[in-house]
Each structure stands twice: as C-alpha cells, then as structure tokens.
C-alpha cells in the first residue's frame, strides 16, 4: 500500500517544510516561555540551596529575608547557638543594589557573610569557579561571574571599594540578580550607614535637639552620635541543624523561646514560589496559554489550507472509490508530520536560544515531552476541521468546472 500522505508531502515538500519551520519557531517561543518560568523557580531554589541553611530566623512577623525586609540584632546568633538541635548559626545580610565598577554598574544582591575561617558555614557560596575565598575581614569580595567582574577588579559598594578575589557561578537572588559576597561588617555598613553628608547633617540635627545636647551631661551627644552610626542589625540568621534534628521541632522552639519568626526550607520555598514570583509566574502562564492557542489556530489554518489546495485531488480519490478513513488518515498524518517537524525545529531553536537570554532559562526534558504530546494533540484536533471538509467534498467536483 502506498503512503498517500508521504506522496502528497513529497509532491509539495518545500511548502510543507517551510510551514513546519514557521510553526517550529512559534513552538520554540512557547518552549522558551516555559523555560523562563522554570528558570525563575530554579533561581529561587538555587538561592535556598546555595545559602546552605536549614532554618531562616528573621524579624518577627515578617516574610524575610528575601520576600520582605527583616532586621534583627546580630547577637541573636549566639542565643540561637544554644538551642538544642542547632549546629551552626550565621548572621547574614542581603541588599539588592547597583554595584559600581569603573564606569558601569551592575544590579547585584550584596550578601554579607561572616568572614574568617568559617568556610562552608551557612551563607557562603558552596563552590568557586576561580580565585579564592575571602580571607580578610574587610574590603574583599567574591562575585558571581554573571556580574561580569573579573579577579582583581575593584568594585564600589556604597562607601567602600572591594577587591574581587573569587568568582562563583549560579549564585543568584530569587529575581536572578547575581550575588556579590562581602564581609559582614562591611555589608552592615553598606546597608545601614549613610553617606558622610547625611551623617554630618544628622549630627547637627541631634546637636540641635535640647534633649540630647544637655549642658550638664557632656558625654551624651558623642555617645548618641556614635550609637546612631553603629550598625548591629542583620537581615537574618541562617541556621544549620545537627544531623537527625527535626527542622519543625527546632523552628517551633525558636519561635516559642526566642520570640522570632522562623522558616524551614519548605516554608521558604512556599514563600519564594508561592508569593515572590507568583504574579510573574501567572503572567508567563497566561502567555503560554495564548501562545498555545495561537499555535493551535495556526496549525488548524495551515492544515485547512493545505487540504483546500488539493480538494480536487481528494475528489478524484473519492471518485475512484477510496475509503473515507484513508483520506482522513492522510490528512491526520500530514498534520502530525507538521507537528513533529515544528516541534523538532522549536526544540532545537529553544535549546540554542536559551543561553542567550539575560536571565536563566531552564529547559526541562519533562516539559519538552509534555510539549511534544500537546503539539500532537493540538495538531490532531486542528486536522478535524480539514478532515470534515475533505469528507464532505462531492466526488463530482473532480470532473466539474
């Protein structure tokens, strides 16, 4: 038995292949769109994985430190270390800002980590791709390669300049901004200490306040000024648990006895994925639906017009007694072939285009499998109209004018 669909495609293969290519580009966009969503979720998960924490201790009743601002005293860490089940606790600060280097600036999340010989404690990047870890307590930084900084570069973060000594990869914030790690003390200053002019003005303001500038109490004004410019708050304490400790149990005891809000890894994923990127995810979901609908409409239109082009041939087939099922199968086969070509082109385009995007695009194999299934279903459904048209054609048309 000859393959009618194959013969027909071979007859006008150029048209068929170019249609497939066009459809493929559209499917490529759809796949990339799904990849953008997966990338966003993966950025959030990477943030949690890379922090290396089991529990996040934040200011009470806040969704900190990523979804909401949170500030707690930096000696909370010590109190937490005494809790049963807690192996390590580390202060950390997060501040998303423009980091300047030479004439340009890069949006980055500046992370303050406890320096010293605490490599691998929570908050530190787990692996470097070049250079070394920060060893000095001040003015050294480790940057993600997505910032474009190189080893030995000097970057400016608020008041101070830092030398980049190490590079990381895939250390990103939940919104995909690369991270820059600096020692905690510097990060606290960057976050809470203002510029010199503001400090001088604030001093004048304090001096003008008779409550603070009392003639009888000589040391009061300098003490207040000093306390205003010292920063001993951090955004969160990252806690790592002892092996075998139950995160929920430890979290509950911290909540109860330290009067702070604590999130476990599962809570944090809910916050990041369910709240922080929820709107963007819905936006992309909406786009996916529209793209799928547009693709379906285009496939239906293409199949329909391909069928209409050969309506006379179909009438001839009917005239010579071809069964309806054979004609339907031919059209369905062509629709599916178009879907397969389109999907292959789309997948290849998406794979090559993904690394070119400024933010992380993660193409999951399972998404592709699901996408392939969806394309075939859409193509099959789209061919229904064309099949109906073909079956209703009058064999007499083959010989008519």
């Amino acid at each position: 038995m000859i393959s009618l669909a194959g013969r027909d495609i071979a007859h006008a293969w150029g048209k068929f292949v170019f249609t497939g290519l066009g459809l493929g580009l559209l499917l490529g966009v759809t796949l990339v769109m799904a990849g953008v969503y997966r990338g966003m979720v993966d950025d959030g998960k990477a943030l949690l994985d890379n922090s290396g924490a089991d529990l996040w201790v934040v200011q009470r009743d806040t969704l900190g430190p990523y979804a909401e601002p949170s500030s707690i005293a930096d000696d909370t860490e010590r109190a937490l270390l005494t809790m049963p089940g807690v192996a390590e606790a580390a202060n950390v600060t997060y501040l998303t800002m423009q980091v300047r280097q030479g004439g340009r600036d890069v949006r980055a999340m500046v992370v303050g980590i406890v320096p010293g010989e605490a490599w691998g404690s929570p908050g530190w990047p787990p692996a470097l791709v070049a250079g070394r870890r920060v060893t000095r307590g001040h003015y050294e930084a480790m940057a993600d390669i997505a910032t474009g900084f190189g080893l030995g570069d000097t970057v400016r973060i608020r008041r101070n300049e830092y030398t980049v000594v190490g590079l990381t990869r895939r250390m990103v914030s939940s919104s995909g901004d690369p991270m820059v790690f600096i020692p905690l003390r510097d990060a606290q200053e960057a976050q809470f200490l203002k510029d010199n002019d503001a400090i001088v003005q604030n001093r004048a303001r304090t001096a003008a306040n008779p409550a603070f500038n009392r003639p009888g109490v000589p040391g009061l004004l300098p003490a207040i000024n000093a306390s205003q410019t010292s920063s001993n708050t951090v955004n969160a304490v990252l806690v790592r648990l002892r092996p075998g400790a139950d995160p929920d149990e430890v979290a509950e005891s911290v909540r109860r006895w330290k009067r702070l809000t604590v999130y476990t890894r599962a809570d944090m994923e809910d916050i990041l994925i369910g709240k922080l990127i929820a709107t963007s995810a819905k936006q992309i979901g909406m786009f996916l639906v529209i793209l799928a609908a547009v693709s379906a409409a285009i496939v239906a239109f293409i199949i329909y017009s391909l069928t209409m082009d050969k309506i006379r041939e179909i009438a001839v087939l009917k005239l010579i007694g071809t069964r309806n099922s054979t004609i339907a199968w031919m059209i369905l086969q062509q629709a599916l072939a178009l879907g397969v070509i389109g999907f292959a082109v789309g997948k290849i385009t998406a794979t090559f285009a993904a690394p070119l995007f400024p933010k992380y695009v993660l193409l999951m194999p399972l998404d592709s499998v699901f996408g392939f299934g969806a394309v075939l279903v859409i193509c099959a459904l789209a061919s229904v109209i064309a099949i109906r048209m073909a079956l209703r054609v009058d064999p007499a048309e083959a010989i008519g004018g």
């Binding site: 691998g120 404690s121 787990p126 692996a127 470097l128 070049a130 060893t135 000095r136 190189g150």
Partner: protein, 125 residues
C-alpha cells in the same frame, strides 16, 4: 604590635589592638583615622598547604574532593592556620602530591562526573 586590649567585642569577636610604628611616618596620620594593619607572624615550619577554594563542607565535615582518575572521593581534612593569600595548612587527611579539586562549576557529590580542565570555560584565567 604594642598591646591588645583585654576586653573583646562580644558580637564581632574582635579585639582592639594597639600598634606601634617602627618608623614614624611624617606627617602623622590624623587621630581617629581607620587603618588597615597586617600582622606578620613568625613563619611556620614548611608543610602541605592547599588553596582555601578547595575546602568544601559535607554535613558537619570539612574536607576536600580528591580525584583518582575519573572518580571523586570526599576526604575530610584537619586544617591548620590560614594566611591572607588564601592558603590553608593541612594537618591531616592529605599528603603531598594528592590531586584535589580546586574549582568546580557546580557543588560536587560523590556521583558527579568530572572532567579535569586547566581553567573553567567562560572564566578568565
């Protein structure tokens, strides 16, 4: 170093130290200026050192990923003193000549497939 204060900062675990100039700079720096001081300690006896970028943590253990051909094993090490250039003394766990992973694109596990390169592609050497 002239003397260190007895009292440490409870939060930052830092000590106030008083440093004397061996050659007094002229003009003298202003009072209250923040200075960066590096203290040169007497040299330690020669021993194996590794770059601190190689030190990794698995659970509670500090160690390094040692390579033998294509296989990776996590060797826990006891570290000694570290210097400001990023070298750490290894007291136990490794011997001179062992091959270890210095930089990696991703955090490693014992099942990671590895390819040894001079420097990671995309990263300036």
């Amino acid at each position: 170093m002239l003397r260190t204060e007895l009292r440490a900062d409870a939060v930052t675990e830092e000590l106030l130290a008083k440093v004397a100039f061996s050659a007094v700079p002229l003009p003298l720096p202003p009072i209250g200026e923040r200075a960066e001081v590096t203290v040169d300690l007497p040299a330690l006896p020669a021993g194996p050192v590794i770059p601190n970028a190689a030190v990794q943590r698995q659970g509670q253990q500090l160690g390094v990923w040692a390579t033998q051909g294509d296989s990776l094993t996590f060797v826990s090490v006891k570290l000694g003193r570290a210097d400001l250039d990023g070298q750490v003394q290894v007291l136990q766990g490794l011997k001179a000549g062992d091959a270890i992973v210095l930089h990696s694109e991703k955090p490693l596990t014992a099942r990671s497939r590895i390819q040894v390169v001079d420097h990671i592609p995309g990263v300036a050497p």
